[in-house]
Symmetry: C2
């Protein structure tokens, strides 16, 4: 990625960014879609406009709660998100945006996450906005595209942002760094479904809901909830000092979905009162600044094919134990400068 | 830090590195101490010699099990490490090295960790080597100094490396990336002692031992062990596929210390059989290569005072939400190149 700072969008294009922005802050859905597409664009010519748009939207952003929702495939995420989204809109009148982050989806628009066809009822709701995951290659990568899209949705007046992710990938650390609240959806079971979840997710969880707690599954779900509740209490509190909530629900019966929202609401009140809410957001901003900087510097360095080659060679030698990691890094950096 | 690759140690110094190396691989303790001191040196003139020494030692390293031991102050780490070290030497004849990592100890030699005075019996044992934490400013930072020291100890014939750390700091992620096995020491209690432990430590734990399980404390310790055992089983397995072991012990009565070692031994057999042992070490090497590279590049960039100032300014604006992290990083990187 290269940003040409001297690049001035032509008057026609400039009007476009202006126009997109003006429509977006009035809540125009088409403008929001176009804005996100611009952010996700792989074309370097679009990057200057994307930056421009983000700068315009930033002062209008922030007024939301950002909720990460994760769980292995099969746990019922789409049904859950749909039920939760519907409930929030109906009971609070707030607009709800559903984004997804799935860095593994290299083929765009093929991602299952955030797929409107799986949340048909919600996507028909005029207060809902649903967007599939960005694919690799966008400005700063998939995580960044999602992050900046959050800002755009907030500028467009969406006060609840749901970010869907699959618990088995690499994305959960990044999702934790872009949300206020992290919800893990699970099933009662022999523990098999846990095999897919990375252990680190337990560390981030603010709420654990055992889904499909209906019919024959109800008793097992209640038992599982009791077990997890005691387990979670044995572990140290999160940095945000919130004690994670464990409960059951049935998305398909819309059972206890109101409980999900009241937990989130309580979290919001409690952490805004303590100041923890903005403190965490400030730390997240700092995290992304440092991470982006490293990423961009690395990208610049690796446009040099020789350096890229050397890096790969050294990495291989390091993995095989032929050269110490420290010595290899010194050698590499000496070549860079 | 700057490495002058054209710097050739004077013949007198060069003999020193040669001599240190030759004595070190014969197991000479003084040579090992001098070698580690060289690695930890803040003087840039020493860095070339340090690199030279690491390169010589590398082919002789690796033949050990590296064990991280953590727990909040007061849990009895020194007594535990002493008891474990004594037991291992006595029952297996292996040499044991005790290192420490405490990045917060900016004043060298004042660190409590790895303090010989607290492990007097063990430090008198000729098969034990105890070294306090490096302080900030050494080649690549404290974590790197510890990491490279591990290689030196291994080259000197130490087959068990115990790395002590405090669970409340920032160092546990780094410790997890330099050990094969991670042991958490705790006390039975109301849960208060957990307040100090970062949640992420639970994720890395291969064994959890409840210490001071003696006298009036015995029943509570047994109860706590049962609770933690069920809790840990509810969570996903670690990447190394090992199921964490929970048990009680009393370091001061040397009770169940044999169990500690047999768990570690079983872990070693099981993960070497599955190939996971070397797989994890290879990934760790890769991690350090990438991390060191980023660190060194950053150090180089920040020798430029203007860039350092700009970075701090942008970081502040980002934290206050005045500028988007992505936009700030683009602005900074443009200035760098």
């Amino acid at each position: 990625m290269s940003i040409n700072k001297n690049y001035k969008p032509s008057p026609k294009e400039q009007l476009s960014v202006e126009q997109i922005f003006n429509d977006l802050i009035k809540g125009n859905v088409r403008a929001l879609s176009e804005a996100i597409t611009l952010i996700e664009s792989k074309r370097s010519e679009d990057h200057a406009n994307a930056i421009d748009l983000i700068n315009k939207c930033l002062p209008h952003s922030g007024n939301s709660i950002r909720i990460g929702i994760t769980g292995v495939p099969g746990v019922g995420k789409s049904t859950f998100i749909e039920a939760l989204g519907e409930y929030i809109i109906q009971s609070t009148g707030k607009k709800v945006a559903v984004l997804a982050i799935d860095p593994s989806s290299k083929v765009s628009k093929g991602s299952i996450l955030g797929d409107k066809t799986r949340m048909q009822k919600l996507s028909a709701n005029e207060k809902a906005f649903i967007r599939p995951s960005a694919s690799a290659g966008s400005l700063g990568g998939v995580a960044n595209a999602t992050r900046e899209s959050i800002l755009l949705c907030e500028a467009a007046g969406y006060e609840v942002i749901l970010i869907e992710t699959v618990g088995v990938g690499q994305s959960e650390t990044e999702v934790a760094e872009m949300v206020d609240f992290f919800l893990l959806l699970m099933l009662a079971g022999a523990g098999d479904e846990l095999q897919g979840i990375k252990r680190g997710i337990m560390e981030m969880t603010d709420a654990l809901f055992i889904n499909k707690a209906d019919g024959d599954n109800l008793k097992n779900s209640e038992k599982a909830a009791v077990q997890y509740r005691s387990a979670i209490h044995l572990f140290p509190p999160k940095e945000n000092l919130w004690t994670p909530v464990v409960d059951i629900c049935s998305a398909i019966e819309s059972k206890n979905i109101d409980k999900v929202w009241s937990v989130i609401d309580e979290f919001y009140r409690s952490t805004t009162n303590s100041g923890m809410f903005s403190q965490v957001r400030a730390k997240q901003n700092e995290y992304w600044f440092v991470k982006n900087t490293e990423l961009l510097i690395q990208q610049k360095i690796f446009t040099n094919v020789e350096l890229l080659k050397l890096h790969e060679e050294l990495k291989q030698k390091v993995k095989l134990g032929e050269i110490s990691p420290l010595v290899a890094s010194v050698e590499f950096v000496n070549k860079v400068f």
